[in-house]
């Protein structure tokens, strides 16, 4: 599908998964190259999130293969995905509201000292460093994240993905709950990460964001892949047509 010369960073081949007889994802194939942003579009319930959860380890595909750098991998849990440097920013952000930013950032991967005890001060220091880069105005290090604004919570979730040297980043509507300023911040961050050679899957409803941020777009409808197009080669209306009617524009590849 892609004409780039690299071996794709991620290939999800012929993925299917069904829940109680309903095919949530039906023989879908997508791929992602280093330094590329691939948008996943479609209505609610089109299967975007479900497809991507097979990659992040939250679900296990009924059939199909996942290849990372051309090698077949088995992803059975979020832990497996993390071990493959796949990081996910969920729409719900998946933060434990009762814990502070540092505890959330390192959740499941706590820094420990020589005795195996969690090193809170070191985790907080590391959190301060990465937040200084991502969101310099962030100050609330010692309060539960329930006390943070939407944008601040988002930056904690993003910091968690970025801190651990992700190669593959999955973002599920990262700007849905954000104001214009914060949306711009996320957009800049995506550009920066892309320049560093990460591959990013971006689930997005806003066509304008897709046109602005993505290199390619995969459109899904009723669990099936309508098509994958280069964003430069299509118009907003083409994409809308794919999403709403499930019709692939004739001129696009």
């Amino acid at each position: 599908m892609s004409n780039t010369p690299h071996t794709p960073l991620v290939e999800m081949r012929d993925i299917s998964i069904s829940f109680g007889g309903i095919k949530a994802v039906d023989h879908v194939t997508v791929d992602l190259c280093p330094g590329e942003v691939v948008g996943l579009l479609g209505h609610n319930g089109a299967g975007k999130s479900t497809l991507i959860k097979c990659l992040s380890g939250a679900y296990k595909a009924d059939s199909g293969q996942i290849l990372i750098n051309g090698e077949k991998v088995d992803i059975n849990s979020p832990r497996d995905a993390r071990a493959l440097n796949i990081e996910t920013i969920y729409q719900t952000l998946a933060l434990a509201d009762n814990l502070d930013a540092a505890s959330n950032l390192f959740l499941g991967r706590e820094l420990v000292n020589a005795f195996g005890f969690v090193d809170e001060s070191k985790m907080e220091a590391e959190t301060r460093k990465i937040m200084a880069r991502l969101n310099p105005n962030f100050r609330k290090f010692n309060v539960p994240v329930s006390a943070l604004s939407g944008g601040q919570r988002q930056s904690v979730a993003i910091a968690r993905a970025v801190y651990f040297n992700a190669r593959i980043l999955i973002m599920d509507e990262p700007t849905a709950a954000l104001g214009p300023h914060e949306t711009q911040m996320v957009a800049e961050l995506i550009q920066e990460l892309k320049a560093q050679g990460l591959g990013i899957f971006l689930i997005e409803h806003d066509i304008h964001n897709v046109m602005k941020l993505c290199d390619r777009a995969c459109v899904m409808k009723n669990g099936q892949l309508v098509g994958t197009v280069k964003v430069d080669a299509v118009t907003d209306d083409d994409l809308l047509g794919m999403i709403i009617m499930g019709k692939k524009p004739a001129k696009a590849a």
């Binding site: 809170e120 001060s121 200084a132």
Partner: protein, 433 residues
């Protein structure tokens, strides 16, 4: 990138004394309530309430509930509940009583009073407790049966297997080594207690200092030196006051005479000895410190709190929440075994109704101590303090002649009021969403 200089510029405007000391307001509230109860009963009883003897008794009586309350904090923080702890205590106690009084002496041919019997008995009791808890945890974690149902069932099941195990008969326990775990029969004496008190004070100060140094090394603001000093003085003062007080409770002369006679000696004229710290209280302190370290400093503890805050987030962070559930309930079961050891040693027997309704006291202690039933929030020291508050109330009311039914009414009301006050406080502070 390494922007730690920013930390120093973080705004630190006018702070009250409580903020400066970084005291937990909830803890402060409990301490005030505790002090108020003690003050009222002290005046009412003309000072008997705070006599070394009564402080000793309250401490010893509170131990089993306090030990179990430590485990209940983890259970409730993880958004679960365990209604079966009283029955699990009875089951552990039944197995331990039968094994030391009947099974081991007759089946294994071990001599009565042999230390092997006690060691095997205790290990058996812990194993039974941990096993019962693990079964609960498996049903809740892997089979997804609500813990309310599993442990409500367990309340009946374990209580009645206990009954069956002992045929409903009381088992009298006389092994002096066992009775050491109960309270008055196992005390460390004044000199050892004072040494321990000093050691604990030194450890507490060292802990506070090392936490401070660790924070400083990462460039964080620490509270002013005087505030740290006040904190240290308060902690050391509390430890030393408690130890000194218990070291002023004399062992009755008649009992000392018996002890000397048992060794074939004659008690010297004017000899006296003090109780000092009971072993059961030492056990509670070890449990409470261990559980606090687990909660704050280990991955296990962090995962429990994360799971209580947001189970989905915990799962997506790669935490095996099912296995974690088993561990939480198994730990609860183990602590029931430990509480059973202390309870039966204090009562010097196993009765069919041992631990009856204890689940309610344990849950009440945890909740009075600030553990939120919605999950994610709770402290071990709060639960221990909660157990102490309830025991003080009950003991104080008994001393001033309140009838048992009314004692229980008051304990029930205190539970409701404690949660009510907490809700009002949280609303005022805008902590609720």
């Amino acid at each position: 990138m390494t922007d730690t200089g920013q930390v120093a510029t973080a705004p630190a405007p006018k702070r009250g004394i409580i903020d400066t000391l970084e005291l937990d307001v909830r803890l402060l509230g409990m301490l005030v309530a505790f002090a108020a109860i003690a003050l009222v009963f002290t005046i009412w009883t003309g000072g008997t309430f705070v006599s070394p003897r009564n402080v000793f008794n309250i401490s010893v009586q509170a131990v089993p509930v306090a030990i179990m309350a430590c485990g209940m904090v983890f259970v409730i923080v993880a958004r679960q509940i365990d209604l079966s702890v009283g029955s699990m205590l009875a089951m552990c106690s039944a197995v331990m009583a039968m094994s030391q009084a009947t099974w081991l002496p007759s089946l294994m041919g071990l001599e009565y009073g042999s230390p092997v019997i006690l060691v095997v008995t205790i290990l058996l009791g812990f194993a039974v407790g941990t096993g019962m808890g693990a079964i609960t945890g498996w049903l809740v974690g892997y089979q997804r049966i609500p813990s309310f149902i599993v442990t409500l069932g367990g309340l009946f099941v374990w209580r009645n297997i206990n009954w069956y195990t002992t045929n409903g008969q009381s088992v009298s326990l006389t092994d002096p080594h066992l009775l050491m775990f109960g309270g008055t029969e196992g005390v460390l004496g004044a000199p050892v207690s004072m040494v321990l008190g000093v050691a604990a004070s030194v450890a507490a100060v060292a802990g506070l200092l090392s936490a401070r140094r660790n924070k400083q090394s990462h460039g964080f603001i620490v509270k002013p030196a005087w505030a740290e000093g006040v904190m240290m003085a308060m902690v050391v003062g509390a430890i030393m006051l408690f130890v000194t007080w218990l070291s002023r409770y004399p062992v009755p002369e008649a009992k000392l005479k018996r002890l000397f006679e048992a060794r074939g000696e004659v008690m010297p004229e004017g000899f006296s000895a003090m109780h000092g710290l009971p072993i059961s209280v030492i056990i509670l302190i070890v449990v409470a410190v261990g559980m606090t370290i687990t909660a704050r400093k280990t991955r296990l503890g962090r995962y429990i709190f994360a799971m209580g805050g947001n189970p989905d987030a915990a799962e997506l962070s790669g935490i095996n929440t099912r296995a974690l559930t088993v561990k939480i309930f198994a730990l609860m079961g183990f602590l029931c075994g430990l509480a059973a050891l202390v309870a039966q040693a204090r009562l010097q027997s196993h009765g069919n109704d041992i631990g009856m309704l204890e689940e309610l006291r344990v849950i009440a202690a945890a909740v009075i101590g600030g553990t939120a039933l919605a999950g994610g929030v709770g402290t071990i020291y709060g639960a221990v303090l909660g157990a102490l508050i309830m025991q003080s109330l009950q003991s104080g009311m008994a001393m001033v002649g309140v009838d048992t039914p009314f004692q229980n009414v008051v304990v029930g009301l205190v539970l409701i009021i404690a949660v009510w006050v907490d809700i009002i406080y949280r609303k005022r502070m805008g902590l609720t969403k």
